[in-house]
Point group: C2
Chain length 430, copies 2
């Protein structure tokens, strides 16, 4: 395959003509396809339907200490849920609080708490002139939305193969206005990168100027492997232990949820942190709520029984997800390989493939896709303030469509990439 | 029965001796009884066990518009849940947002949102020097805890038979620092008072100086009658409509939940408000969460089907609660009637009986109860900052104990009231 960059104007125009015809062919099909969000597919949801069977009117509704899960009480979660989620999070159950249905809202509430009441006795952030926040990017758009909503100055940190640029982070945390960092350390959103052990150790060794600096360690895809072979799985050190080892036990909050294990919106979220930090969380919680849904905690515990069963359950998710990832990756390779107009990741877990077009093309590609009925994550969404300085990153979410839909959507995406790239190259020639 | 106040010192001492003997008899029984919280009893929880049956692995998980309740999406609640909760709240479903499992946390989040981001474009409260909040008292301790946590100056408003002192409220809202008021307008916590129509109209007609003043209308006991006969039920006007009628549609947030309809902690909470206000709520929500537990919404809708069934369901709660209230009220009447050492309410709904001892006795009475194993709500809890200026109000929660336990607990309570009252009268004689 000849690189587009090496084609003559005539060759490009001829190529463009053929591509436009194919593209217009898709327009006639009036597609309604969506590769924009990391939503599990219907087939994946079906895997957890039995979650709805474990509690019924004849059930014993007590937790293992005899507390009635139908009534008020047990602010921080039933013991068996702490144990299960503790195993999932690789920490001691005593270092856990079980929350409601969304880890995103636990993160939001944590930032809101820090803003209104401060972190562990430090000045509430609302009383400070400026709060800065480190944002490894490309990253998770909803993280960035939270820190934007609170008016923090977001500082983009480039992502490398082994995690965010630690040299920069080590430099930035010397500024006491820098209060936190967003991290998706395993199978990152959107690149599928897992932080290396060195990166994790450098995180644990950070010496931030602000005593209330916190690492928001969103381990959203901790057990979300695409492959069963351990050789094809990424490994992430347990960061709470590392932070303790480096003498910074309070520097990290670790978040997990079962949103992509059982049902999004009807799962369990949890936070793992030091006792000092948990005290902070609990004080806030004790005012904010009387407690979370303990029946749903019981439901999850009884459905899985133990971590081994949850791991088996994740293999069934992987069996559905893997071919979808491979379809996209292989089609990209077949159609774009060697053209020099884009690169993409081949993650071993998580929910996304990250695509980088030539500079200045991402917005136009996403618009082209939308124009014939294929919805992609808005270009720029993976950067703070929704602005990708190179306008090149596009997040591909292959999970929700069926394999057939995915094939169509990927073809449309590739046509759009080619067309926009040719336009750019032609414009450069003039 | 002779009033204690009219007894001679000798009569009081003789009475005291007998009472102390009875009281010490209870100590030997090593009781562990709890009349402190408005918790439904096990028998009440059993009424909703079938809620756990309506969803199972064979269920159709779509809402009425075909959205899969197992997946992400539908931020403000499924339509049929809005309809059901709208009926419960007597408002248009379009004026509703369905939340998670706790209306308390919706109120907390609403205050937190106002503090961090302001109300409908007004200055965030965290940027203001002083926020004042009106607190009809005795009232709900957890309300007061929220406004205390945010550092608002709480102003106690006395409660009358027909609701809070409206003359005072009309006066206080002329201060632009006054940003809100807590209300439990029906079967109030702890007195069981329902606001009169005049009170409701005066609320709707308020002309607060602060454009961001909001009435927190916590209709926690809207359908929680103790008696089936409509003559024995209280009636509360629909306040959203009244506020609209008086030209103040944005002045009120109305909160409801099914915490005491189905399962506390595993129910649905909702807010009803004007479109302007809902826009505020939604903007915040869209950053805070991806959505609430829609399967639990579906579960509730399918369990009840319609409002008529929910009303029937509440009659079954009443059948369990009514004899408990009457046991306490009748025992109080038999044992304390005519003694002039206490008065109490006879609510027609809700979860509490409010008791007023002679001034300066409440703390001592609660301590006496605790000393022989009967837990009461801490004296003072029903007032802002936990300080009852007269030290006389005690909240009695008859719902959780069995009838036998309740009989014992009430006897201990009465003995404690008598003993503390005699001590006070004797002290006055010296």
């Amino acid at each position: 395959m000849k690189e587009y960059r090496n084609m003559t104007k005539e060759e490009l125009l001829r190529e463009k003509e053929q591509l436009e015809a194919a593209y217009e062919g898709f327009r006639k099909r009036r597609l309604h396809l969506d590769m924009s969000r990391g939503k599990p597919s219907v087939a994946q949801l079906e895997l957890s339907n039995e979650l709805m069977d474990v509690l019924n009117s004849e059930t014993y509704f007590m937790d293992e200490t005899g507390n009635d899960c139908r009534n008020y009480g047990i602010l921080t979660g039933i013991p068996e849920a702490k144990r299960l989620m503790g195993q999932m999070s690789e920490v001691n159950p005593n270092d856990m609080i079980i929350y409601g249905n969304s880890s995103l809202s636990v993160m939001f509430d944590s930032i809101s708490r820090s803003y209104t009441h401060g972190v562990c006795g430090n000045t509430p952030w609302c009383k400070l002139d400026k709060i800065k926040w480190l944002c490894p990017a490309p990253g998770y758009d909803r993280h960035f939305k939270i820190t934007e909503y609170f008016g923090f100055e977001m500082i983009t940190i480039p992502m490398h193969e082994d995690g965010p640029d630690m040299d920069l982070i080590e430099e930035y945390v010397k500024d006491p206005a820098v209060k936190g960092i967003w991290c998706v350390p395993k199978y990152s959103n959107p690149q599928g990168i897992t932080y290396s052990e060195e990166t994790c150790r450098r995180f644990a060794a950070l010496e931030p100027a602000a005593p209330d600096f916190r690492i928001y360690w969103d381990n959203a895809y901790s057990i979300h492997h695409l492959y069963e072979d351990p050789e094809l799985q990424d490994y992430l050190p347990e960061e709470l232990a590392l932070c303790r080892e480096y003498g910074h036990p309070d520097m990290i909050y670790k978040f997990i949820s079962t949103s992509k294990v059982t049902f999004p919106g009807s799962g369990l979220a949890a936070v793992a942190a030091s006792q000092n930090n948990l005290k902070d969380f609990k004080k806030h919680m004790s005012i904010q709520t009387i407690g979370h849904d303990k029946l749903n905690q019981l439901r999850h515990v009884r459905f899985f029984g133990n971590m081994a069963n949850m791991t088996e359950h994740m293999k069934r998710h992987a069996a559905i997800l893997r071919p979808k990832f491979e379809t996209v990756e292989n089609t990209l390779e077949e159609e774009l390989g060697g053209l020099g107009i884009g690169s993409w990741t081949r993650p071993k877990g998580g929910y996304f493939i990250s695509f980088d077009s030539m500079e200045g093309c991402a917005k136009a590609i996403v618009a082209r896709c939308a124009d014939v009925g294929v919805k992609m994550t808005p270009a720029g969404a993976t950067y703070p303030y929704g602005i990708d300085p190179k306008d090149s990153n596009i997040r591909i979410a292959p999970s929700f469509p069926t394999t057939r839909e995915l094939g169509l959507a990927t073809k449309v995406f590739i046509l759009s990439v080619k067309l926009v790239s040719i336009d750019k190259l032609l414009a450069e020639m003039n």
